[in-house]
Amino acid sequence: MKFVGLSNYVKLFKSEDFHKALVNTFYYTFITVPIGIAISLALALLLNANIKGLAIYRTIYFMPVMTSFVASAFIWQWIFQSQNGILNYLLGIIGIKPIAWLNEPKGIFRLLFESIGINVPGWLEGPSVTLVAISIISIWRNTGYFMIIFLAGLQNIPKSLYEAAELDGAGPIKRFFRVTLPILSPTTFFVIIMAFIISFQVFEQVAVTTKGGPLNASLVLVYYIYERAFKFLEIGYASSAAYILFAILVILTYLQVRIIGKRVHY
């Protein structure tokens, strides 16, 4: 063994694959985190509206969370099949041509605009269709988890606050923005931090469906680290990539604490 200083990091920053993995992981995060949080918060609000059947809905929404990433990825890969998949079949009924969900390196915006005959420049392509499909798997898998946390937060809000706000003439929208959101902010803060950490560690969905392909269209950081370390046995190099991942998480969490943490009430 030889001490190599920072040469692994230098090599890393020159690597095109690593760039691709980094960009894809950020894309994946910026798809799954906002959409996932919005859906789970909306579901929690609806479930909190004092309706019948709460327990049944909660059980159903939570079932995907119990399923392993491997099993969910298998089932979704079957749904996403371009030839015999049920999604393309259903889309076919409303006249949409089959899409190679997990085998399409084209950007999602390019695909959308192509269908109406417009060519978009490369920088506007957006994440690959494959990466979007993988994001859908993750959103489906994790929504129930965040929903339960939001629901617990909502149930802690004292009813008297709403009654007071109603007496003061606040309508439902005002009550949501002035009462619910501020009091829920510690929960939201926690969920945002967790969501970022979970999404930067995405691995299984990629490993069992696309292996980062086609053409690196779904290559993400942890899969890159795994492949470098245990397939190509570049242990030192892969460790450097792992530390970059760690540094990104530390920086992001720090920024979130600084920026959002300040807005968290009480």
Partner: protein
């Protein structure tokens, strides 16, 4: 002007419509997977798609059991998950008790260091852990899948928080009656902590049952592969037979879903108490 009652009914109907649509999206993949596993090969690829197979057959299940050692994988998953769960309950009880009740130098500092390790993702430390296991010649053994998880910061934290809520007087009384520290922990404190212990047990079991990355990294022999890893390999090596793959997926998912349906309360409580780790 619509009456308040009528408005309420319409509002509720709207909420239920959205929730039911959402529930269908959530549950459909499960139904579709099971449905595919019960179809014969021709129907799996047939148009139009039917949710309920025209002829229910268990041939995919028979084929999957005959063509890959799925029973072996199942037993391996069971061995690994049960061992990890039992060991974690034991070690986390001991360390949580120490952090909650025993005065020793640097206790607070050590506890914060422990909490800090919860923030480090498994994926960041997998390479050094692999090197350590390799040094002890443990790669490709059951031990490699178990040893890194015999204790956890999460479990220690969860139990410590609960132990702190048990009144100190209880221990003082037990000590007066001649009870030793370990005697108090095992005969009085742990029986009192059954709900939180079962929460920890369920989470640990679920997490190790569903773990894919670690067995993939540290094992190679077919005989010791776990279900998740075994299924993924089967898919790669055999080309994809969707009926069989869905049968295998159903087999691997059933135990966890059954445990969840039985012990739902513990799950929900565990998550709301701690936010739960997700790795």
């Amino acid at each position: 002007m619509i009456g308040k009652r009528a408005r309420r009914i319409i509002g509720n109907a709207a909420i239920h419509t959205i929730l039911i649509l959402g529930a269908i999206i959530m549950i459909f993949p499960f139904i579709w997977g099971v449905s595919t596993s019960l179809k014969d090969m021709r129907e799996v690829l047939a148009n139009p798609f039917r949710i309920i197979p025209s002829r229910i057959t268990f041939v995919n299940y028979r084929n999957v059991v005959e063509s890959i050692p799925i029973v072996r994988f199942f037993i391996n998953s069971l061995i690994v998950s049960v061992t990890i769960t039992i060991l974690q309950l034991f070690t986390c009880s001991l360390s949580a008790y120490a952090f909650a009740r025993i005065e020793f130098p640097f206790r607070e500092v050590l506890f914060y260091i422990l909490l800090a390790t919860m923030m480090i993702p498994q994926h960041v430390i997998m390479i050094p852990v692999y090197i350590i296991l390799n040094f002890f010649r443990l790669i490709d053994t059951y031990a490699a899948m178990i040893v890194p998880f015999v204790s956890s910061a999460f479990g220690t934290f969860l139990l410590r928080q609960f132990f702190m809520t048990v009144p100190k007087e209880l221990e003082e009384a037990a000590v007066l009656d001649g009870c030793s520290r370990l005697g108090f922990l095992f005969r009085i404190l742990l029986p009192l902590s059954k709900p939180i212990l079962s929460t920890l047990a369920i989470f640990t079991f679920m997490w190790s049952w569903n773990n894919y990355l670690w067995p993939l990294v540290v094992t190679n022999r077919i005989e010791i592969r776990t279900l998740q890893y075994g299924l993924a390999m089967f898919k790669e090596e055999g080309g994809i037979n969707w009926g069989q793959l869905m049968a295998g997926t159903t087999i691997s998912t059933m135990p966890i879903l059954i445990i969840f349906l039985i012990a739902q309360k513990q799950f929900i409580r565990g998550i709301t108490l701690t936010g739960l780790r997700e790795e």
